[in-house]
């Protein structure tokens, strides 16, 4: 969210600012300061710095979020293998409470991986990602995957400076997860239903139902089914990814950037202030429509 240009002042709160200017004195003589800043403005500031850094190097940064064990690392392994001869180079930032295990799995495929051990922190924040970036040569990277801590709650609240959010939902978890964790799934630019090779033995998971719950969050994000293990559905995901890389290259050449579709408390303010912010895209259910984000969400 932008705290500098005044776009965070809405019809609902402007009286606070206008009443007595920025500073007012209360009846009992105390100084009242109207702030109207996101509680995470420090994180958001660092996130914007990270995003500038990615854009300068022409890197597309993707934040992967899901429950623990839904197959984020397996998806990355399959993606790395599939893109081996594509000319696209990948780097990975891994977030876990403990261990280097995931980073080691990624490195075994010949891709640089930086592990962030968060200790007890349940999410990555923009500062942690910034520290990890110092260990990577971004000039030789086209796609940076940030594998967030496995958690369907906290990671959704923190902007890391990435361009897209991808939320994974594995078929062993239950198709009503979007209804149970609306903040997380509403943040997704793409929902990937993983482990779909298991669908034939799971009679209680319906991909259509999962997608319906996603639509009930007013999200037009595409939803793809895939299996990193069998390779089923990977093509559609790889097509989305290469489209995203292409669109991002075009954007950075024009000095434009993009933010994940939903950034907490940013969207509404920008809408009110008259910035065009197309939150519900016109095209319908995403199965057959790769999502290209043709318009930049330019939060300056």
């Amino acid at each position: 969210m932008c705290d500098t240009c005044g776009c965070n002042i809405t019809p609902g709160n402007e009286h606070l600012v206008r009443a007595d200017g920025k500073l007012a004195v209360t009846e009992d003589g105390k100084q009242a300061v109207n702030v109207l800043k996101s509680l995470l403005s420090e994180n958001d500031h660092q996130a914007q710095h990270n995003r500038d850094h990615f854009d300068r190097h022409g890197v597309l940064a993707i934040n992967l979020m899901s429950s623990p064990g839904s197959g984020k690392t397996a998806l990355l392994e399959a993606t790395i293998e599939a893109l081996k001869d594509s000319g696209l180079s990948i780097a990975v930032v891994e977030g876990d409470l403990e261990t280097e295990n995931d980073a080691e799995r990624i490195r075994a495929h010949g891709v640089p991986a930086i592990q962030i051990a968060t200790g007890s922190a349940c999410h990555l924040d923009a500062h942690m990602v910034h520290d990890a970036l110092h260990q990577l040569d971004l000039d030789s990277v086209d796609i940076l995957f940030i594998e967030n801590v496995g958690n369907l709650v906290c990671p959704a609240s923190f902007d890391l400076g990435h361009h897209h959010n991808i939320t994974l939902l594995s078929t062993t978890e239950g198709d009503d997860k979007p209804a149970k964790y609306p903040v997380m799934f509403r943040a997704a630019d793409l929902m990937l239903i993983t482990k779909c090779d298991l669908l034939h033995v799971l009679d209680d998971f319906s991909p259509d139902k999962a997608e319906r719950y996603l639509r009930e969050l007013a999200s037009s994000a595409p939803a793809f089914c895939l299996s990193a293990k069998s390779g089923e559905g990977l093509e559609q995901w790889l097509e989305w990814l290469s489209d995203a890389v292409k669109s991002h290259k075009e954007r950075t050449e024009k000095d434009e950037t993009i933010q994940p579709r939903i950034q907490i408390d940013g969207v509404k303010f920008h809408q009110v202030s008259g910035h065009h912010h197309d939150n519900a895209h016109a095209h319908s259910h995403g199965h057959a429509h790769p999502h290209t984000h043709s318009h930049p969400h330019d939060h300056s």
């Binding site: 965070n8 609902g12 709160n13 606070l16 500073l23 004195v25 209360t26 105390k30 100084q31 009242a32 300061v33 109207n34 702030v35 109207l36 800043k37 996101s38 509680l39 995470l40 403005s41 420090e42 994180n43 922190a121 349940c122 999410h123 924040d125 709650v153 906290c154 959704a156 609240s157 923190f158 979007p178 209804a179 149970k180 609306p182 903040v183 997380m184 509403r186 719950y213 639509r215 009930e216 969050l217 007013a218 037009s220 939903i262 907490i264 408390d265 969207v267 509404k268 809408q271 939150n279 519900a280």
Partner: protein
Amino acid sequence: MHELSICQALIEQVEQIAIEHSALCVTDIYLTIGPLSGVEPHLVEQAFPIAAAGTVAEKAKLTIDKSPVKVYCESCGTETIVAANRLLCGECGTWQTQLRGGDEMILQRVELESNKEE
């Protein structure tokens, strides 16, 4: 449980404001938090004293305004209050709505005690 991180960020902002206004202490902090911010107001209330201990905001009273989830429907032009996990238009039921409220996580206002009148 990221509410503690949020409170620590809040305290940093409040401390900065207190310094800017040469305040002796912070007496009141007003937040607005919506259900779609991913932050639980009562957990913020619990985490606040831990983050505030030993700071200029140690004795501050925290007031949280909980904003409702509101969606605007472009097809029928109405704004309705809805549940956080069903952002369908309350009038016509379409899912292509725009969120108009309920995702806020904002520091609205801080009240300070200071030596001098400014």
